[in-house]
Amino acid sequence: MSAFSLDPRTKLFLLIASVLSATMAPNLTYELGLVLLIAVFALSCKKTRTALLGTVVYVILYLLTNAVVINAGESVQAVLLAFFGLIHKVYPCGFIGVVIIGTTKISEFLSAMNKLHAPKSFTIPFAIMLRYIPTIREDWHFIKDAMRLRDVSPNIKGLLRRPAMTLECVYVPLMMTASKAADELSIASVTRGIENPMARTCYTEIRFRISDVLAASCFLAYFILGRFL
């Protein structure tokens, strides 16, 4: 087997389990454990880079938060902890979201949603949105080039020096091309019958396997563990 591939429905379950675990997390170490669990999931999907990056960034955040708790004065603590608290709640959800989007084919997603009897008026726009994400990455290369030729630096330094203009140079072309791209993607899908009410089939077979049970029970167990801590 090339990579550990899960049914999109299982992935949806993992997402929900992570959201619940994160919002009801009893302490910071538990959240760290959750992030590590997601990293293991990412590794098993062969998303090594995402796994490493996601873990390293979180560990830094974790250490930083602990340092604040121990060292900072009370007023600083109040401000920073509220801010960090929000990040800690959102981070695991964002992390697993990135892994799921990176490993799910659009056709799998559509067929799985079909099996769940989700309405097409929801799944089709959502699928187009998912498909739009990788085009942003391609757009970014062009925009970076265009900015450099206009003497605007497309990096953190440029952002700090001239924040308004740098941001404008990123979002204006993105907005301009986004509406066109979304239209063209929709056209390409409706002319190939995406609106067909029949239950669509899928070239890559989707069904529950042992791996689905395994992944789901790991995340479920971790959630239950959190209830007893």
Binding site: K105, I106, S107, L110, S111, A127, R131, P134, T135, E138, D139, F142, I143, D145, A146, R148, L149, R150, D151, V152, M165, E168, C169, V172, P173, M176, T177, K180, A181, E184, L185, S186, I187, A188, S189, V190, T191, R192, G193, I194, E195, N196, P197, M198, A199, R200, T201, C202, Y203, T204, E205
Partner: protein, 472 residues
């Protein structure tokens, strides 16, 4: 059979590109070329056949369009999809999946074919269209031409009776166009009906049965291919049509006025992700020259263009201007890339502001005179996004002139342009040459190269890189 019965249509909130009083019957197995200037209504015509009008583009429709007995406006899109297959112009945004097999299967998945049938149809399609080498690949690593083939394959797998192609050649190189032509011939042999809306005519002349010419939303002429071929060049150009054969393109004498600045490339090699794509390039260009960069898709035209503009990092060798070596930053200051999709490089909220963005002490006088020169002065306060494609392109050129760039690189400046607009770009480029700029044009459009370039740099995969005078 496709039947248009007294059909008129206008888009909501847009007075152009509609159609008026169309009556036409297209028989099974016919291959029809839809031609005419940009905005003449040929794309609108295709949209009425594949149902995008009225299901996707709202507007005012009268008359009836019948396809194999179905009345299009009363048939849901997914049913039309089984009869009419559409292939579009932009290969980047025709995909729904990230791997080729799933993409080919996309249409037949929607039609809910059982899984064994899906597999065998995908295999059969790949065999029929000779694209077995593309099986199981990631879409993002394919060239434009290869993407187009997959888009085609996805439609082919659905086995429709009618194929609609909207400017299918605009992102293809000459070889890919030949392959497209072979595919069209194959479809014709299978008795399929084919409608192609195109500006490039030459490759279609021995495939089509009839050519329908549109002007301002009306069907003005119907030509047989023989009639179209013998149309005198002056008359053809009056109709705004491109050449019907590559051999009748006339070389226009480029107005060459070599200036004093010399750009030199010495032993320049360009890498991309550890692959050497251009090797030991030695080359020089004088100001006032217009140099075409041609070669197959994926041979490194883009990397070459980016190198000239100082945007490409991985390179060895030296680039000098008047014998002064330039590093990447200095190159970036001297040069400007006019992208194929200029939307990426327009940032400001008005035409006037666009010209001065990023410049510390902008010279408003200069900006005004440049905009005047490029016929943009009546749009000073307009938002760049409200301009037409050609105007946006001129605005990008204006930006380069205001910021004092000496080297201009155009990436496919004529993709999807009709004859009139192509000539407009050609005149713009000749004007830049007279201003003693160094101009490079990366393109597949030979007709355009003949109109503008004084020299051609031909890039080839097998480490042979020639430089040709135009005469050969």
């Amino acid at each position: 059979m496709i039947k248009f019965e007294n059909v008129s249509y206008s888009y909501t909130g847009n007075n152009s590109e509609g159609l008026e009083g169309i009556n036409l019957t297209i028989g099974d197995g016919e291959c029809i070329l839809l031609c005419g200037r940009s905005g003449c209504g040929k794309t609108t015509f295709t949209r009425m056949v594949n149902g995008l009008i009225p299901h996707f583009f709202p507007g005012e429709l009268s008359g009836r369009v019948l396809v194999n007995g179905m009345e299009i406006s009363k048939t849901p899109m997914y049913q039309i999809a089984g009869q009419v297959g559409s292939v579009f112009q932009n290969p980047r945004t025709q995909f729904f999946n990230t791997d080729t097999d799933s993409e080919i299967a996309f249409g037949i998945e929607n039609a809910a074919l059982p899984i064994d049938e899906l597999r065998s149809r995908v295999k059969q399609t790949e065999r029929d269209l000779n694209i077995e080498v593309l099986a199981g690949r990631s879409i993002f690593e394919l060239s434009g031409g290869e993407k187009q083939k997959i888009a085609f394959a996805s439609v082919y797998a659905m086995n429709p009776n009618i194929y609609l192609l909207d400017e299918p050649s605009s992102n293809l190189d000459i070889d890919a166009i030949e392959e497209l032509k072979d595919t069209l011939r194959r479809l014709k042999k299978q008795g399929k009906t084919i409608l192609v809306a195109e500006h490039r005519l030459y490759y279609l002349m021995d495939v089509i049965d009839r050519a329908v010419y549109f002007e301002n939303g009306r069907m003005e002429h119907i030509y047989s291919p023989d009639k179209l071929m013998v149309l005198p060049a002056t008359e053809r150009e009056k109709l705004g049509l491109r050449a019907t054969g590559l051999s009748d393109i006339e070389l226009s004498q480029a107005q060459e006025k070599p200036g004093n600045s010399v750009l030199k490339l010495k032993n320049v090699s360009v890498h991309y992700k550890k692959n050497k794509i251009l090797k030991n390039l030695n080359f020089s260009a004088k100001s006032g020259e217009v140099i075409g960069i041609i070669g197959h898709n994926g041979v490194g035209k883009t990397s070459f263009s980016r190198t000239i503009c100082g945007l490409h990092k991985e390179l060895t060798g030296q680039i000098t201007m008047n014998d002064v070596p330039l590093n990447r930053n200095a190159l970036m200051k001297q040069s400007y890339l006019v992208m194929q999709d200029v939307n990426y490089q327009l940032f400001a909220e008005s035409v006037e502001k666009e010209c001065t963005i990023g410049i510390k002490e902008p010279d408003m006088e200069l900006a005004r005179s440049v905009l005047q020169e490029l016929e943009l002065s009546s749009f000073l306060q307009h938002h760049p996004n409200t301009l037409s494609g050609g105007q946006k392109q001129r605005l990008a050129v204006a930006v380069s002139m205001v910021s004092g760039k000496e080297i201009l690189v155009f990436d496919e400046p004529t993709s999807g342009l009709d004859y009139d607009n192509m000539m407009r770009v050609a005149r713009l480029i000749n004007r830049l040459a007279l201003m003693e700029k160094i101009v490079f044009i990366a393109t597949h459009d030979l007709e355009f190269v003949c109109q503008t370039c004084s020299r051609v740099l031909y890039l080839d995969e097998e480490e042979r890189q020639y430089e040709k005078r135009k005469s050969n």
